[in-house]
């Protein structure tokens, strides 16, 4: 069964460093998302991406964040200058069409020291 994959599974970085989180969505899916979950809190929406552009972003998704689909398979989230409060699980999700079920990857645990 097709699944969303994410790399790395864990990332430790120093505050102020850039990180890139990678996702490979399910191949025939068209809508892509990033969510995050800070420890002990709810899963929260960061950004959605469709037709090679951002379709919506949350207040969290400030100028330090960017997303890219550099080729036909990868979907990346870049944090330019990480802060301590960026420490969280980051989940990628994809769906074949608008308001269809979103399928999530296993997540990347980011720890900013």
């Amino acid at each position: 069964e097709p699944e969303v994959t994410q790399t790395p599974s864990h990332q430790v970085t120093q505050m102020g460093q850039e990180v890139i989180l990678r996702c490979v969505p399910i191949s025939n899916h068209l809508y892509f998302y990033w969510y995050r979950q800070i420890l002990g809190q709810k899963v929260e929406f960061l950004v959605s991406f469709y037709n090679n552009e951002i379709s919506e972003k949350s207040e969290i998704f400030d100028d330090q964040f960017s997303v890219e689909r550099p080729d036909g398979s990868n979907f990346t989230l870049k944090i330019r200058s990480t802060k301590l409060e960026d420490s969280a699980m980051y989940f990628c999700a994809s769906t074949p069409a608008h308001q269809e079920t979103q399928y999530f990857g296993p997540g990347t645990r980011l720890l900013v020291l």
Binding site: Q41, F91, F104
Partner: protein, 114 residues
Amino acid sequence: DQQVKQNSPSLSVQEGRISILNCDYTNSMFDYFLWYKKYPAEGPTFLISISSIKDKNEDGRFTVFLNKSAKHLSLHIVPSQPGDSAVYFCAASWRSSNTGKLIFGQGTTLQVKP
């Protein structure tokens, strides 16, 4: 922002009995609801969904009930099995959203005891 609430942080049930997980929402524009299950160190796994035009959807041991007037939905698991022990998230979205983004509740940790 508490548009989707799961007021019970945890639930413990005996194997074979029914588990009932509850979710309340405040945004009347929500018209599509989903339940996800999450094990530690894994991503959320889709369980079951319901559109606002229905009040019940069933898939095997899992049934979701939607009460639009009360802005309440529930997930019933019958019979409960130890492998069902996980965190369950309720999520909602709305058709007028051009993105289909999901708004999640805080989650309920279900423990099914053998």
